[in-house]
């Protein structure tokens, strides 16, 4: 029900999107300094009671919920209330932002300089900003940008400052704090810092949630956080994290605010700054620690061209309208509201569904550049291909993507070959054209060359390229799942195809954003899209492939092939190689070396199997399907594998045994 109110899924093609304007254009024509010192008088929340960051801290420390938690912690630990109160104050001190307009102005100046060097243009949808301004005035707002780069939140604040909108406070990971000076600068530009994990720490949780809720209730400023929790290293959207969203919705559930507006923001980069770093990280090279010196070393990025970026402010989603008819708010009537209550199942599933919907809205409004299509084509021709063929296939794919409703930024009045070659030139670090042939560029390993290092370098470039293909996967995902399901199903009968579809969907729901419980809708959507592009037709005996479908469907299948193979590799590893004592920590490196072995032996050509992201997602899926169980042993978590179950999943994925309901049921 909620999904329908959010956006009509039946025909995503009809979705109307706003036009863009380049916010850097003015910066190129007028003084940055004057801009940094411009008059800044944003529209505020109508119910705002003015408050400084310091007052805010006092309010939080004296708030009933926090006082309650302090007394509880004190009673449990035996420490004095004063001591716990001090602890709470220290936590808050570490956490709280200290937004200062002067720092913001400093950033406005320096970022103007930086952005002008990095990007051709920063395109923002003006109407989205107007919607945001309206929303800020009406209700507390939560800004939910996608997260692909460190740039994201700097860019968000930059845009809001530029457009004279209320600057947000941003939930940031504690990692930044370790950067001397920079951490404090970020804090003064509105970031507040939270520890990555504080599962059992009641006091920390209480301080944190009360801090966020206090800002929300008072309409202090829009609250910005990343639903995905961390930067996506693969450019695929990550499964949303629910903690902060839960906190942000609670004031509405408890009637403390009339409504909360959730605003998805889609930030897309033509070239991601961290592109190569991500690929290496996925292959097991640890992420460089955030440090000021590291930042200075990263200066070299300024000498490169990162094309343009797009920021699309979506439509604000009213929590009230979403909850209408779904959430019975009177469930909070019988307990004082400052006493924390575990969210009911009803609430939990509502928050979860909403989070998925929001991530999908982010996906839908991501602007896709031609390079994304090119990368998709290249990924199916890893050994290189003729330029003319590349252009032809890219155009074909563009039209298919359009018919599926993709948000493409394809220049109108330029010839296709020009578009392709200019994209290739922007991404010349990834692909090269020599003698009319396009192929992926593979870096030279720094040390002596060995089969392993060569494989590693090749994997880096393939995974980098894959990350661009991943940007568009959400457009093709459902039709592609259907294409694979049709291939796997023993008959074209709709229910049989649906069974396969649903199996695959279930298998990959940690890999892609697939809203829980919407299997049927997704299936319908996939059927609709494939019929619309003329690839399938509904026949009395089931789903039939048309002539054009004989091209389209295999293409779509091939798009998912790396994931199919990758999951099979993980399954095979678990069936063949594991001992009884595989710990969770060992899992990723062990699968990786297993995959490397297969590669070197020539029996595996899929590079995704080397990606820690895929490996983790596959494990999460197997855990969810109860094919693997986590067992706590001493201070380690050990994975217990149900080999029969894993084996049968592998065979089903490999098409060796047909998908049948009983197979799933047995799992």
């Amino acid at each position: 029900m909620a999904s329908k109110s959010l956006c009509s899924r039946r025909d995503p093609v009809l979705k109307k999107r706003d036009d863009f304007e380049d916010v850097l254009e003015e910066r190129r024509n007028s003084s940055d300094l004057r801009y940094a010192f411009k008059c800044y008088a944003p529209v505020l929340y109508k119910g705002l009671s003015p408050c400084t960051p310091t007052m805010l801290k006092t309010v939080v420390l004296q708030s009933e919920p926090l006082q309650y938690a302090i007394n509880q912690v004190s009673a449990e630990s035996g420490e004095s209330v004063e001591l716990v109160q001090e602890e709470a104050a220290a936590i808050l001190e570490e956490m709280a932002h200290r937004l200062k307009l002067s720092t913001v102005r400093f950033f406005a100046f320096t970022l103007s300089k930086a952005f002008k060097r990095l990007f051709h243009s920063v395109c923002v949808n003006e109407e989205g900003l107007q919607r945001l301004q309206q929303a800020i005035h009406e209700h507390p707002v939560v800004l939910l940008p996608s997260h692909r780069s460190y740039m994201d939140f700097l860019m968000m604040s930059y845009i809001l400052y530029t457009c004279d909108l209320k600057l947000p406070v941003i939930a940031a990971g504690m990692d930044f704090m370790s950067m001397k000076f920079v951490g404090e600068m970020l804090r003064m530009s509105g970031a507040f810092f939270i520890r990555r994990s504080f599962g059992g720490d009641k006091l920390y949780w209480a301080v944190f949630s009360e801090y966020v809720k206090t800002m929300l209730r008072s309409g202090y400023a829009p609250i910005e956080f990343f639903l995905e929790g961390t930067r996506s290293r693969t450019s695929k959207s990550l499964t949303p994290k629910l903690g902060l969203l839960n906190i942000a919705m609670e004031p509405f559930f408890k009637g403390e605010v009339f409504d909360v507006s959730l605003m998805p923001v889609s930030i897309s980069y033509e070239r991601v700054l961290e592109e190569a770093l991500y690929a290496r990280e996925l292959l097991g090279v640890p992420k460089p620690k955030e440090s000021t010196s590291g930042l200075l070393k990263a200066r070299k990025i300024f000498s490169e061209d990162y094309g343009s970026m797009h920021v699309y402010f979506g439509s604000p989603v009213s929590v009230r309208s979403l909850a209408q008819g779904r959430i019975n708010r009177s469930q909070y009537n019988l307990v004082p509201r400052h006493i924390p209550q575990k969210p009911s199942n009803e609430i939990q599933s509502f928050v979860n569904d909403t989070a998925y919907q929001l991530v999908r809205m982010q996906e839908e409004n991501m602007v896709l550049k031609p390079w994304v299509l090119i990368a998709t084509v290249l990924m199916q021709n890893l050994d290189g291909m003729e330029l003319s063929q590349l252009v032809e296939q890219t155009v074909w794919l563009r039209d298919l993507a359009r018919s599926f409703g993709a948000f493409l930024d394809w220049p109108d009045h330029t010839s296709s070959s020009k578009v392709v070659s200019s994209s290739l030139s922007l991404h010349r670090n990834l692909a090269s054209v020599c003698g009319g042939r396009v192929c992926l560029l593979v870096g030279r390993p720094p040390g002596p060359e060995s089969p392993e290092t060569a494989l590693f370098e090749r994997a880096v470039s393939v995974l980098s390229c894959a990350s661009y293909r991943n940007q568009i996967l959400h457009v093709f995902l459902r039709p592609a799942l259907l294409a694979v399901a049709m291939q796997a199903a023993t008959s074209p009968r709709k229910d049989e195809v649906y069974n396969c579809f649903s199996f695959l969907r279930n298998m990959f729901s940690n890999e892609f954003i697939l809203c829980p419980g919407e299997s049927v809708q997704d299936f319908d959507e996939a059927c609709y899209l494939l019929m619309k592009c003329g690839a399938v037709q509904m026949l009395p005996q089931g789903i039939g492939t048309t002539d054009s479908g004989r091209v389209t469907l295999p293409y779509l299948c091939a798009m998912l092939e790396p994931f199919m193979q990758g999951y099979q590799v993980v399954c095979r590893y678990l069936c063949e190689e594991t001992t009884d004592n595989l710990t969770e920590k060992q899992f990723v490196p062990a699968v990786r070396s297993f995959a490397v072995k297969l590669h070197l032996a020539g029996s595996l050509r899929c590079y995704e199997a080397l990606s820690s992201d895929l490996q983790k997602n596959a494990l999460a899926a197997l855990l969810r399907l109860n094919a693997v169980k986590k067992v706590k042993m001493a201070d380690q978590v050990v994975l217990k594998v149900n080999k029969m179950a894993v084996n049968s999943l592998e065979d089903t994925l490999g098409g060796k045994i047909p998908t049948q309901k009983p197979v799933l049921a047995r799992l």
Partner: protein
């Protein structure tokens, strides 16, 4: 004070005696003063014929409007000059010009005096469906000599309460299912006879007291096929006895509030029960709906005031055997009767607590910079248990509404003073005129204590930024509640429809509930296509130890809507949902009736509802009292 020792006790007694003597000496003057004080806001009805207490004739339409609120001679109108005035002689406002009402009215609703939506002029008896009479019942009733009628006007008058949709329908000349006849029992025995006959002939009985219901409780269930008899209790209006030793009075349940108070005042007593509808509502109605009075802080609500109830049911008469002030005899059977909304029987006689008429009464008011501060102050007052007889907090919109009812000032001096006051509050004290709100107060008791009490409350108010704002503002605040229903009739003449509703809510949720419900109303109106922002306002109208009663007014200009009534009903429904979602109760004192029945199960759980149903099943197995309220 009494604990200070014997000497002070003796002193007190001596003082009291002195006071009484002094009281006797200036009895005439003092009594007059009190009467005026208590009646200032309400209509001063028929004071001349005190011999006959009956201010409600059988043919109510002779003195009251058939399609609007109150007395026929009293109504608001815009005169030829476009100034608002209130006609008649009954009220303090009567005959006065209200110069700022027009501007407020047009500004708030976007209404225009050129655009009129007049009501149907007179009742069209031909359009009233003919009565469905039970011949055998009528025959036997005739033999009892109890007066009855099946005149169309009598029947239409008793076919409705005062919900907006009921009055709106009447103004449009639509008459729904009406009672088929009206009977006027004169005493308890008459009622016993009527109920027996109704049982015998399977006739549906609907008790009718003052007719001021706002819960659709008086609407005849359209699915009812039997003959419906409206049992009008208005002629059972005697005070049967007064017991000065125990301070109780035994009263017939048909008596209306103003008569009860007036008659008791003559003997130097009062009940102190003053619901806003007390000019018209009846004692039996209060019992049947669990009514609440403005001065409940001193006197209590109806459930605190009743000592003994006699009710005639199809099973027989229910009453307790003694008048002990409290009993432990299982669940209190009074509580099956209180709030039963006419589904179990007819309340015929009630023994009520009475109190000596207070020596002194004083209004007051406090201005707060904003509503939050005001609520915080009321909470503190409740915490210290020092609430005056009445304390209410109006939000900014309602304050402005009240202001619009200021009569023309007679002297330059008064208007100069008003200007000065306004300057002091908004400029000197820096209160935002769009934020400030007002608490109205009513103190009662002996003079000294009132003054002391007043100081205590003003001191608390000062801690929350409150400024004393004079007796006038206070009094005007109370006046608003007595004339609001007349004002609604004025609004309906100009395409404005409105309604009030109430709830009770724990203290910590008061602010959130008020804000959310008000905003929900605004939002819903907008979504339903209402062209102008509605009036959406509230006041905290009663305080309790653990919470408060909140009262909402909402009204909007319905020009341009094809089905305004439906829009109105949807908005009201949404507002009630919002109240429940914010921890408010289904009703504080209006009752459930048929309007709020759908939420009853959620409100009391299915087991609770089952309990009530099983009582109904036992007491009235044939559903003789078939108004279908509550359950």
């Amino acid at each position: 004070m009494a604990s200070n020792g014997k000497s002070s006790e003796r002193q007190r007694i001596a003082q009291q005696r002195l006071r009484i003597i002094a009281g006797h000496l200036r009895k005439q003057e003092e009594a007059d003063h009190i009467e005026i004080a208590a009646q200032e806001c309400k209509a001063e009805s028929s004071r001349t014929d005190t011999a006959k207490p009956n201010s409600v004739p059988k043919r109510r339409q002779e003195i009251m409007k058939w399609n609007g609120w109150g007395y026929s001679d009293s109504k608001f109108l815009f005169n030829k000059k476009g100034q608002a005035e209130f006609t008649g002689k009954r009220y303090r406002l009567s005959g006065l010009i209200l110069p700022s009402l027009k501007e407020w009215f047009e500004g708030t609703f976007g209404a225009n005096l050129q655009h009129k939506s007049p009501a149907a002029a007179a009742l069209n008896a031909g359009a009233v469906p003919p009565p469905n009479l039970s011949e055998s019942f009528v025959e036997e009733l005739k033999a009892t000599d109890i007066p009855f009628s099946h005149d169309a006007e009598d029947r239409v008058f008793r076919s409705h309460g005062h919900c907006l949709h009921e009055i709106f329908g009447l103004r449009e000349g639509q008459y729904g299912r009406c009672p088929d006849m009206v009977v006027w029992p004169n005493c308890h025995i008459d009622v016993v006879k009527i109920v027996e006959l109704a049982c015998k002939h399977n006739v549906c009985l609907m008790p009718y007291g003052g007719g001021t219901s706002v819960s659709s409780a008086l609407e005849c269930p359209p699915e009812e096929t039997r003959s419906i008899v409206s049992l009008d209790t208005s002629q059972m209006n005697q005070i049967l006895w007064i017991d000065e030793k125990n301070l109780t009075a035994h009263v017939e349940a048909g008596i209306i509030g103003q008569d009860l108070e007036r008659l008791l005042n003559e003997s130097g007593y009062c009940t102190g029960h003053e619901p806003d509808s007390m000019e018209f509502s009846s004692l039996g109605g209060w019992v049947a709906t669990r009514a609440s009075g403005m001065k409940k802080n001193i006197y209590g609500n109806i459930e605190d005031l009743v000592v003994h109830i006699k009710m005639v049911t199809p099973r027989g008469v229910i009453e307790k055997s003694c008048q002990g002030p409290r009993m432990s005899t299982g669940p209190d059977v009074h509580h099956f009767i209180l709030g039963s909304e006419g589904t179990l029987g007819v309340v015929t006689e009630v023994t009520m607590k009475i109190r000596p008429v207070p020596e002194y009464q004083k209004y007051g008011s406090v201005v707060f910079p904003n509503f939050q501060q005001g609520v915080a102050c009321l909470r503190e007052v409740a915490k210290q248990r020092c609430a005056p007889a009445s304390i209410r907090l109006m939000d900014n919109e309602q304050f402005q509404f009240g202001h619009a009812l200021k009569p023309q000032v007679s002297s330059m001096f008064t208007s100069f003073l008003d200007g000065l006051k306004k300057f002091y509050i908004t400029k000197f004290k820096g209160f935002d005129p769009q934020q400030l709100c007002v608490a109205t107060l009513l103190f009662e008791g002996d003079r000294e204590k009132v003054l002391q009490h007043e100081k205590q409350v003003y001191d608390i108010a000062a801690k929350f930024g409150g400024l004393a704002a004079g007796e006038d503002n206070g009094q005007r605040g109370y006046m608003l509640t007595f004339v609001i229903a007349y004002l609604r009739d004025l609004g309906m003449d100009y395409y404005v429809m409105g309604e009030s509703f109430e709830t009770s809510v724990p203290w910590d949720r008061v602010l959130d509930l008020c804000r959310n419900v008000k905003e929900r109303i605004v939002r819903e109106c907008k979504e339903k296509g209402v062209q102008f922002p509605p009036l959406s306002t509230c006041r905290v109208t009663q305080t309790y130890d653990s919470g408060a009663c909140v009262y909402f007014y909402f009204a909007f200009n319905y020009r341009g809507l094809s089905d305004p009534l439906n829009v109105y009903l949807q908005v009201e429904h949404a507002a009630r949902e919002e109240i429940l979602a914010n921890g408010g109760s289904l009703s504080h004192h209006h009752g459930v009736g048929k309007l709020r029945k759908e939420w009853m199960q959620d409100a009391v759980s299915s087991v609770g509802l089952g309990m009530l149903k099983s009582v109904k099943e036992y007491v009235d197995p044939d559903n003789i009292f078939g108004n279908r309220n509550l359950l």
